[in-house]
Amino acid sequence: MNSPNTQHVAAQLRHFTHEETIALVCDFWSDLDQTQQTRLLKMIEQGPRPLAAEAMGLGDPKDLLDDIRLLRDAIAHDHYVEYGAGYDPEYGDYRGFGDDGWIDEMDDLFAATSSFFRAGKWRAVVKAYLALFAIFELNQDGFHFTRPNPAAALHTDLDEMKRNLFIAIGRGDPDPASKAIETSGKVRYYGNDQYALLEAWQDRAELATALEKALIAAARRAIDQRPDGFLPHTSDLLREFYRRYRGLPDYESLCRKVGRRQGWPYQDLVSRYCE
């Protein structure tokens, strides 16, 4: 948008609400001939431009992945931990001391990835989100961060990022259910929502069905049946899936399929009967 005319149009459009902009486009559309309509339709179907990424000079997804890798390497090599590590009574925990700059950088990279998400670049988005979440895993390797809980230090809504990631997997992966389950196990403790996968796929019946099938298949393996113990993530997801979306007859069917090996389906069925 460099010409004076386009700058003028952009300046005017800034005063429009979202609904007014949609109405304007629809009015404009109805006055176009068929060829022009087809051209505009193609542009719309391509999705919005990844403006946040472009503004950072990351218009190409490959550049984004390179930047994520550079940040990861910098953190791993303690570029930000300048003064060693130790106990911080303010946090009641150990952490590295130094430059907090990695927080803004990660926030920016999540924002850039999300702009590619809105642009519908599903495969690139999955790679980028996974690479970003994997940075947090460096915390298991030592004090590479200046905060005890790096995920909590970000300003980014990590639950929203996880939902975006699962939507992208649902649209871009050849075996979305398996990939999503594996990914959910890796990212569940970042942010607050351990069940972001269920949130992300709740309106996609075909994905939800595939997910349920894959989770039931995983639940055919026997688990340690301690009611207060930790469930494997696949069992935990299946349990939450049934809590949210399934009724009594479904629970009865689930008991027949995996009740003996999992235990908890009987507990949940009986609780449902008691409600």
């Binding site: 049946q225 301690r226 009611p227 207060d228 113990g229 009865e252 008991c255 009740g259 003996r260 235990g263 908890w264 009987y266 507990q267 069925l269 009986v270 009967y273 008691c274």
Partner: protein, 270 residues
Amino acid sequence: MLTWTDDGLSKLPAKSGYRPMLVEAHGQALLRLKRPREAFEELRALFRNHMTPSVYLLLREAAQSIGRWEKLYPSLVMDMHEHVAMVDWEMGYLDEDVHAAELMGFAHLVESDWQKALEWALNAELPTGWHDANLLKVVATGLLRMGLASRGKGKTGKQPDEALTQALNNAPDIIRKYGDLLESAAHRSPARSLLNSAVKLYERMVEQEIGGRDRDHYARAGAHCRVIRAIRRWQGREAAFDRYYQGLLVTHSRRPALEDELRRAIEKSR
């Protein structure tokens, strides 16, 4: 439900931790189907190894409906007492051990036997369990709930103040879940005695927290003091609290951090 509990019990491994829950649900279903004798037998056997409030209350209901509660109650108390006595509290214990002790205090309260509950809480000398497991707190908040109900808003129109409401809202799980039963039991006991007993237990909790010798413990001691003051206000006995509070300050005059926390809790809040 009977079909499914039977199904689960026939299929789950012998060591499955979900079995007791299914036995309990089975007993509950029998009760609802007016088969209390069978429910009684199952729940009685379950309670020996699974001393939870929900099993206890179902068993109580089954026993009452077949006229066997008077005889059963002392033997259940004995079971719980034996369980607690068997634990070597210094060597190590489980949460369920503390919960068994709490249940015994709660059981006494439900039967309006508040003196025994008080005696048990003061003399059992159990350590504090994980989470909110704490015998003193169970009996203290149970007595508080009973005391307020015994002279409740129906009679006087009086509403608990913020400190009392908070104490009840933060009561241990067993009191929050089954407190209604205590309110029914409260009407057979004098409010004054119930609340005086609650104060005794809160005073014991203050002592315990002071023994913790750090700011966090002192702050909790202050919070308990606020509840004591609120109870005394409810009773119209504020002078009794003033004497207790001044006594605390004098006794612990060499602990400025404690004094600071107590003043923060009492004098900076009304």
